[in-house]
Symmetry: none
Subunit: 122 residues, 2 copies
């Protein structure tokens, strides 16, 4: 089973999703991330999906799941690099990612995490 690496950057964790995930891989990622947030007392999770050209409802719900799990563990999540076509698909699937913070690229995502950490975002 493929396993997606989780990189530590200071108090943030970076996940770069480069493959179209199977369900098992996605569930494993959720578990690994939850464990990693605890181990590293991480404050934020940055999920880069710029390599993904498609997304289905399973992946969309996974973003929401990861975001909820991270929040419960005290970390903010930002999904970055969503392509325009993927954004349209998500909305068409009825998954507008309402509870998930998003940003155009990694740089802006980091800025958003910094803001969240300073308590400037809810």
């Amino acid at each position: 089973m493929e396993r997606i690496p989780i990189l530590r950057m200071g108090s943030y964790l970076l996940v770069t999703i480069q493959i179209d995930m199977q369900d098992q891989t996605a569930l494993r990622l959720q578990e690994d991330l939850a464990a990693s947030i605890e181990q590293n007392t991480a404050r934020g999770v940055l999920i880069d999906v710029s390599a993904l050209e498609m997304v289905d409802s399973f992946i969309g719900r996974m973003f929401i799941g990861i975001s909820d799990i991270a929040r419960i563990l005290g970390a903010a999540t930002v999904v970055v690099g969503i392509r325009p076509a993927v954004a349209i698909t998500l909305v068409e699937l009825g998954l507008p990612l309402s509870g998930v913070r998003t940003a155009l690229n990694v740089e802006r995502g980091m800025a958003l995490l910094d803001k969240a950490q300073r308590g400037e975002l809810r």
Copy 2:
């Protein structure tokens, strides 16, 4: 097929809707806007509808869709210039545009986008 122009103003995009859009035109606008947000790393989208005297549920839902897509791509959306009669129609159609920011005119819409960019709005 008609195509609605998207103007760049600094880090914002301005769309002026002057025709009663056919469905295809509206879908094309969604795609063009999504691509344009990415290309210009836009922070906000201003949709001026002051020229529209009527609106149907398709257009109402399109505002919501554009707003969701833009948010996923990290940009705030403000719909400005909704006429009183159009506002009444939207509510009667059961589309109170709850998730969509609106303002009376372009000036106020810009101020709202500035606020959103400073993180004063969610």
